[in-house]
């Protein structure tokens, strides 16, 4: 328990001081992007890790929120109203999305969410009178809550960090709640849960709604971050990204999606400056993770550390002399 607390404290300290030690505004912005995608990935993880439902269409929900904000701001509606309406629209979209895709589970769910995501992409791409097609919609300015402008990267970073902390906390509460426990039950034993009198469909539906809420929040942050939205944000690749983040980091953990988001965003934004074929690198990383740590980076590292500790305990003489017994950290 204490180790978890120390880790949490260290993590919070690192995140709080990012603008102080990160070299340059560009990297502060990359950190904001990591946090935005971490929120998105957390939303997807609620379904993948705790509900056992892999969605490949979440970029569509993300896009609903983003487009709603951009469209309303362009129409001259204020920031607060735009954000609230965007969240409501994202939730309505999620409800429809869930109603259609929850008719099946497993691989069927993957395929239906993928097709629904593509449907939303098709709307964004072709419904030019609303979405402006491939040209996208620009957002003129970021909001200024309490009179503080969010235009400087550090300010935006802190605003994102607050939302991120709230999202992680909300997810932690959700997972620990009786609803979260029953969601895990529907993942492992849907039939028994049904026999015990739980409404499996409804539990999954609530999980989808919570996931959609986090996704919508991430979508709103994203459109304020890039100040631009185009159909690119809704493509299949964009839907696959959070799923890859969750699975590579470790589904069913709170830390996994955050680690996965950091991994993918770092390769995308930082490694891409040095390596032209960064997409190939990313693909290779995913394949390597599947081969060496099929459970994901966070649980995999935990297993590795535990195995190392056990090996050290088995050879006490060696362990006493071993200076780096607990060295590899997740």
């Amino acid at each position: 328990m204490t180790a978890t607390r120390v880790g949490l404290l260290a993590g919070a300290l690192v995140l709080l001081t990012v603008p102080l030690w990160v070299p340059g505004d560009y990297y502060v912005s990359v950190c904001s992007q990591i946090l935005i995608y971490a929120i998105f990935a957390l939303g997807v993880d609620v379904l993948i890790g705790y509900g056992g439902l892999v969605s490949l269409g979440h970029a569509g929900l993300f896009g609903i929120a983003s487009y709603a904000v951009a469209y309303m701001l362009a129409a001259g509606i204020g920031h607060i109203a735009a954000v609230v309406i965007a969240l409501v629209l994202a939730l309505v979209g999620t409800a429809l999305f869930a109603a259609l895709s929850l008719r099946v589970t497993g691989i069927g769910f993957i395929m239906i969410t993928l097709a629904l995501g593509e449907l939303l992409w098709g709307l964004a791409y072709r419904w030019i009178s609303v979405t402006n097609g491939d040209n996208g919609i620009s957002v003129a300015n970021r909001p200024a809550p309490f009179g503080i402008s969010l235009n400087p990267p550090a300010h935006f970073y802190y605003a994102t960090l607050v939302v991120f902390a709230l999202s992680v906390f909300a997810t932690w509460v959700f997972i620990g709640s009786p609803l979260g426990a029953s969601l895990k039950g529907t993942r492992d034993q849907p039939r028994r849960m049904n026999a015990l009198g739980y409404h499996v469909w409804l539990i999954r539906f609530y999980a989808c709604m919570f996931s959609g809420l986090l996704t919508g929040i991430a979508g709103i942050l994203f459109v304020y971050y890039t100040q631009f939205i185009s159909p690119q944000t809704l493509t299949l690749t964009a839907s696959a990204e959070p799923v890859l983040m969750v699975i590579s980091g470790g589904s069913g953990t709170l830390l996994g999606p955050i680690v996965g988001a950091a991994l993918v965003e770092i390769v995308k934004n930082i490694a891409s400056a040095y390596i032209t074929r960064w997409n190939m690198l990313l693909g290779a990383i995913f394949v390597a993770i599947v081969i060496f740590m099929p459970e994901g980076l966070v649980p995999g590292s935990r297993r590795l550390v535990r195995a190392l500790l056990k090996a050290c305990a088995k050879a006490p003489a060696a362990a006493a002399a071993e200076p780096n017994s607990g060295e590899p950290t997740p």
Binding site: I48, V54, L56, L100, R103, V104, G106, I107, G108, I110, M111, I112, L114, A115, L116, E118, L119, W121, G122, L123, Y125, R126, W127, I128, S129, T235, L236, T237, A240, V243, L244, I247, S248, S251, R277, N279, M280, L282, G283, A284, I285, F286, V287, I289, V290, I291, P294
Partner: protein, 287 residues
Amino acid sequence: MNLWLLLAVNSITFGGLLFLLSAGFSLIFGLMRIPNLTHGSMFMLGAYVGASMVMTFHLPFWIGAVVAALTVAVFGGLIERLLLRRLAGAEQAQVLVTLGISLIVADFCLMVWTGDPISVATPPGLVGGVRFVGVFFPTYRIAIILIACVIGALLWGLLDRTRLGAMIRAGVDDPQMARVVGIRVSRLFTIVFCLGAAIAGFGGVMGAPILSVYPGLDNDMLPLALVVVILGGTGSLLGSLVGSFVIGFIYNYGQALFPELAYFVLFLPMVVVLVLRPQGLFGKQAP
């Protein structure tokens, strides 16, 4: 009136291409329960290899197409043997690894064939068209329709009339029971995966003179394969045939009639089918 007929020809052609794409996808999905998200990449890889064979090495079109199909089959077989085999039943790992491979393939194609679209010349002998009741039918499109029908018939014959086909059908229906009666289901997996990959790669070459070959072709085709399979039902050859032509028609007429909502119209029948019949039109069990 002529516009409608022309659209109909295009729809059937596109349906034929979709059938080549989705037949393998449906079989792989039906037998192995693997969401093979590299299927679009296989279509694209086949198209690129075929384009190189025809445009750079000046091989005859059909030989180029066969070489491309074989290349993609080998590629598919390697993926199945080396990676997917270890991941039986681990759906999340399958998604991760197939998406990872499709990223690698997309980037590989970008590296080798650059970002410029490649247009492949229509094979000589199939250039031009025939005039029938006052309508001009491009010969190549008719050839695609015929080839799709032939491959469909061959696949049907393989699945319905041979011992191998009977074993595959047994594997689709009940893999555990098939193992019990002594069928080597793991070997069937490899065969079906290679076969599906080969047809997809061949389809890529067939589509190249019409669609041209460009980066992003994989992500354009994969959702279409999914829609066809959801519509027609997984593991059913007839399902993917019917689904392909339905989607081919909706795609072409939708773009002509409601250009703004073309994709929306494309995915709508899928939604309707899901609501009324989740296992698809010809599927046996829910996906």
